[in-house]
Structures are given as C-alpha cells and as structure tokens.
C-alpha cells in the first residue's frame, strides 16, 4: 500500500495554495509549449498569430501552424496527461496497490491490438479503414476491460486479485497478437511501434472534441470519489462496515477510469509511465488524501505530458521522437530522485 511519507518542507500542503500553484505551473508550461515547436516562430509573430485567431482572421502558414497544429496538440497533451494521471490515481486507490496503473486491466494491450489491426489491415478490409485507428483502439480497449471484468466477476463481487490476474493475462495475450501483426507486416512495424509508444502528432480540434465528452464526465466522477477512496484505504471490509458501498464504488470508479484511459489511448497511443508515476510523485509531495491527490494528479499529469511532448518534438526538431520514450526516460529518474529525497528526509 502507498503509505504517507513525512511532509516535504518545500511545498505547501494545506489550503488552496497547492492547487493554485499547480494550476499556475501548468499554465506556464502550456504557454512555453505553444511558444516553442518544430518550426521556429518569433515571439512577435506568435502574438500576431494568436491575435489573428482571437479576431477570427486566420491567414498564412504561421497562423495555420499555431492554431491548427500547435494549440490543439498542447491541449490534447494536457487532456491525455490529466486523464491518465487521474485514472492512475484511481486505480492505485481502488486496488490499494502502488504498482497499479491505468493499463492494469488491459486497456493498453486492447487499444494496441485494435490500432494494429487497422494499421495492418485497413488496405484490404474497407470497414476497418472507415472505422479508423482511434475508434478501433477505443472499442478494443473497452472490450478488453469488459472481458477482464466478466472473467473476474463472482456474482456481484469483483475480487481484486482475480481482476489483476485476468487483466495481466489477457493483456499479455493481446500484446502477443499485436507483436505477430507487426512481424507479419514488414512495412508497418515502424508505424505500429510509434503508435504503441505514443504521439501527439495526430492531434486536431476534431480529435479533442471527440475526446472531451468522454474525458470530462469521467474526470468529474473520479474527482468526486476522494472520500470513498480514503475510506477504502482501510480495507474493503472496514470500508463496507463504515457504510461505503464498496462494490458499487469499485464498479463506478473502474468504469470511469477505464473510459478516461480508453479515450486517452485512442487519441495519442499507449503513453506509459504518466499514470503510474504522477500520482506517486503527487502523493510524495502533497500527501495521500484523495480529495487533494486526485485533482493535483490531474494537473501534474497534464503538466508532465505537455512538457514531455515539448521535449519529444524539439530535441531533434523538426524530427520527432515518440513521447512515450520521453516519459519513461525523463519520468523514471525524476521519480527515483524524488523517492530518495523523501527517504533521506525520514
């Protein structure tokens, strides 16, 4: 179980200050991410382009790049980051397991399999081409989690251990099927691999508008569950005795977190590490109470992924690297450093 570690002296832990400061930090990073990109745009030009959009008079390549490519990309990274981190915090809370992440119940393997099917077969199966990668990924992610829940369910109960086992096993099988698709189609291996590692290169306003109706209600439900999750940390039986309808809460939270995860994965591919590390980092910095952990995870997840995508598209600009490589390479050491620091403070 993720345990409360002693308070860090660096960050405020009470009152509205943490939320406010985190929100400001996110805004600053988002502004930086809009200002910098694969194509260099001078600050004056950038302001001009932003004004053109506000006044509704878009013209020229710079306006197109800022409004149709960069802004939706930054917003998409923020939305996906917030969804994954929120889902990760919920999964860790529900399972009371520090290794839980949004992909625990097979959403990632399902989405990866669905996306690979379309990437490999769209040329010969017209209805797959019409379906498109995002919807195929979304549908397969939901179907996989539904199958895992169906396999693990015992009557009205959802035993945690069976859920995790079913998720891991079904996930491995689907990952194997995806690997086979990759090997069987030599031209597509690079494309599938990049999708599996995640990228915001496809971001558009349309994609964002398709994601928000799923992500927002899911986020709202998860953000309201702070108190129930706090009680559930005492153990499921104790929580039930304290009046928490454990099984219903579990169903609702896993459903909402899965929806948020499937929406995130279908929009940007399987970006690892955000859902696992961000809630832990927030817990280490701001404490374990879920009423605070959940919104802060969303904010820092957004910040982390906007920053990671900024690195992914600028480090080799104008070439890109998959953002999942950045989240793992940068996020891992950062998290370990945070952990060491906390342990030394103990």
């Amino acid at each position: 179980m993720a345990r409360a570690l002693p308070a860090s002296r660096l960050l405020p832990r009470r009152g509205p200050a943490p939320l406010l400061l985190s929100g400001l930090a996110l805004a600053a990073v988002a502004a930086l991410a809009v200002a910098v990109g694969g194509v260099h745009i001078a600050p004056g030009e950038l302001l001009g382009a932003l004004l053109d959009g506000v006044t509704g008079r878009l013209h020229g390549t710079t306006d197109t790049i800022v409004w149709q490519l960069r802004l939706p990309r930054v917003l998409m990274a923020a939305t996906v980051g917030a969804s994954l981190a929120l889902a990760g915090a919920a999964f860790q809370g529900v399972f009371r397991n520090p290794l839980a992440d949004p992909y625990l119940l097979g959403a990632a393997s399902g989405a990866g399999f669905g996306a690979s099917l379309v990437l490999v077969l769209a040329g010969s199966v017209p209805w797959l081409a019409r379906l498109g990668v995002p919807w195929a990924a979304f549908a397969c992610a939901l179907a996989t989690v539904a199958a895992v829940v169906a396999l693990a369910r015992q009557g009205a109960r959802l035993p945690t251990v069976s859920l995790i086992l079913a998720g891991v096993v079904l996930g491995s099988s689907l990952a194997a099927a995806t690997s086979f698709l990759m090997l069987a189609s030599r031209d597509r291996a690079a494309g599938i691999l990049s999708w599996l590692l995640g990228s915001f290169a496809f971001s558009s306003w349309d994609g964002l508008l398709a994601m928000l109706p799923l992500a927002l209600p899911a986020a709202a439900l998860l953000l309201l569950a702070g108190r129930s999750l706090d009680v559930m940390q005492l153990g499921e039986e104790a929580a039930a005795q304290l009046g928490v309808p454990v099984e219903s809460v579990k169903f609702a939270l896993l459903g909402a977190a899965t929806l948020a995860t499937a929406a995130a994965v279908s929009a940007a591919g399987v970006i690892g590490f955000v859902g696992l590390v961000v809630p832990h980092a927030v817990r280490l910095a701001f404490g374990p109470a879920h009423g605070r952990l959940l919104p802060l995870s969303a904010l820092w997840g957004a910040l982390f992924l906007v920053l990671a995508d900024l690195v992914a598209r600028t480090v080799l600009a104008p070439a890109e690297i998959p953002v999942g490589i950045v989240t793992a390479l940068v996020g891992g050491p950062f998290f370990l450093a945070l952990l060491r620091r906390q342990q030394r403070g103990r």
């Binding site: 769209a122 040329g123 990228s199 290169a201 070439a319």
Partner: protein, 292 residues
C-alpha cells in the same frame, strides 16, 4: 546491317572478356569469403530485390526458392517461399540443397547458413550506386556478366534520359509519406536519391536523417507541391490526408497533387534492384506529368 554485325562482335568479345572462370572467391559485405567452383544452379534468394536481380540477369530458372515477399517477376510466385530473412523457414531452405543463398547482412541468417556449410553471399544493396555495383557482383557469381553490363547500361540510360527531360524544369518539393505517423524520407535515403534523379526533392532536410518521424508543423511550413502516399496500400486515402489539420492550404492539396501509390508501385520504389530505371521514370511521371 554493318552496325548490327559490329554490335554482335562487340557483345561476343565482351562475353569472352567478361566470362567468369571458376573457381572464384568473392568477399561479401560481412567480410566472409565465398568460393564457388562452378556456376550455381540451385539459388535461393531471401531478399525481394535480390530475386529481381537474379531474374533480370536471365537466371530466374536457376532459383529454387525465394522469401515470402518476393513477387516479381510473376514466375517466382510458383517457387517455394521460405519465410523472410529475419524469420526464415530454415528446414525448408536446407532441404532445397541450395548451392548459393543470397541474403542481407543484418538478419544473422548468413551466419547460420555458413555454419551449416551452405554457400551464402551476405549483403544486399541499400542505395542506387550499391544496386548498380551489385548487378556486377551477381553477374560475376552466376557467370552472366555480359547480361549484367547490359542491365546496368539500360538503367543508366533510362536515368540519363529522365535527367535530360527534367533539366531546366523547376524541382518539385515532395513530401513522401511512408506512414501517417508521419514517417518520411531524407535526401540521402534510397527514395530521396531517386526523387533527386526524377526532378524532385524531399522536403525533409539531410540533418533529419534517412527515415525521420517528422513534426506535422514542419510539413505545413515546407508546403510540398507533391505528396506521395506510400501508405495508400494500407488504407490511407487522399481525402483522409487532405483533411488533416493545416493541410487545406498546402500547394499539393490545392493543385490536387496528393497522390496514392499502389502496392506494386510502392515495391518498385522501395527495392534497390534492376528496376531502378523504371522507378525513376515512374517518379518523373508523377512529378512532371506534362513531360512524360
């Protein structure tokens, strides 16, 4: 008539001058020596472009097996298919008793075959120049050197003819989409060099590498005049590409020059082999439709 007689004499002279005298020893790209005591008669090719090379040198009837992706010329479809260089059907390959296997230098297949005592040449061309040189290598191995010289001359003739036609025409800015990720090709990649010979230039810069994943902002900024959708056989459509953010203003979109390629065309453009002349001609037709 005199000219024909002269050519016949020249070809005969060439034949004598170029004939291979066995045994021969050549060094492959992995640095291993391969010794052949007689012209190989049971050849296995594990690379599609190598299969094309053997057949272009009129030795198709000496092939006894090919990899699963070899599909040109038509007649290799009837041969046993032995998987790919990276995942070969080794037992079937060994059972064919090949006296020469052509494969790549990366997969490790060559080492395994050498340990089994099977004659193997590891190394398959990756560039235009390597492919021209490889024609000579295979011609030498198979004792069909005259034919190799003729095939090479044909390719160079086709490419020179295209070069004359596109000389003076404006060089077309081309975005080659290998994959919607988007992966594209740099100027030093194989397809990048073919584009240059066909009067075009990839919008990707040399510094970005041979097969970079490109920031979509960069594509919009470079405003390609032609877009080649190499991923069309995998379902990418013109309408889908044109509806991407920021693409509506691209010159290629406005001029209706977002072009889908078929699988045979993609194969033609990706295999550094004996059909490179045809590949350059295809690109020239796509880039300068009025001129070819």
């Amino acid at each position: 008539m005199k000219r024909v007689a002269f050519l016949v004499v020249l070809l005969l002279a060439l034949q004598v001058a170029l004939a291979t005298t066995y045994p021969i020893t050549v060094t492959d790209e992995l640095g291993h020596e391969l010794t052949l005591t007689a012209p190989p008669q049971r050849i296995v090719s594990m690379i599609p472009s190598d299969t094309e090379t053997v057949c272009a040198l009129a030795a198709c009837d000496r092939l006894v097996g090919v990899d699963q992706f070899s599909d040109w010329p038509q007649q290799v479809a009837d041969l046993p298919h032995l998987g790919s260089a990276t995942s070969p059907d080794l037992e079937a390959l060994v059972a064919l008793h090949p006296d020469l296997v052509l494969t790549d230098e990366y997969s490790g297949l060559a080492d395994r075959l050498r340990k089994l005592g099977i004659p193997v040449y590891a190394g398959t061309p990756q560039t235009y120049d390597q492919a021209l040189a490889f024609l000579g290598t295979v011609g030498h191995l198979l004792d069909v050197e005259t034919r190799a010289a003729v095939v090479r001359g044909t390719i160079e003739g086709q490419v020179a003819a295209v070069a004359r036609q596109v000389a003076g025409l404006p060089v077309q800015r081309v975005f080659v989409e290998l994959d919607a990720t988007p992966y594209s090709v740099g100027p030093s990649s194989y397809l990048g060099t073919l584009l240059a010979k066909a009067g075009g230039a990839t919008v990707v810069t040399a510094a970005m590498g041979e097969y970079p994943q490109v920031d979509p902002e960069f594509v919009v900024q470079r405003d390609p005049q032609v877009v080649l959708l190499m991923d069309a056989p995998y379902g990418q459509t013109v309408a889908g590409a044109e509806s991407r953010p920021g693409w509506q203003g691209l010159t290629a979109v406005r001029d209706g020059r977002v072009i889908t390629l078929t699988q045979p065309q993609v194969d033609l453009l990706s295999r550094a082999g004996p059909r490179m002349g045809d590949a350059v001609l295809l690109l020239a037709r796509l880039l300068h439709p009025g001129r070819f």
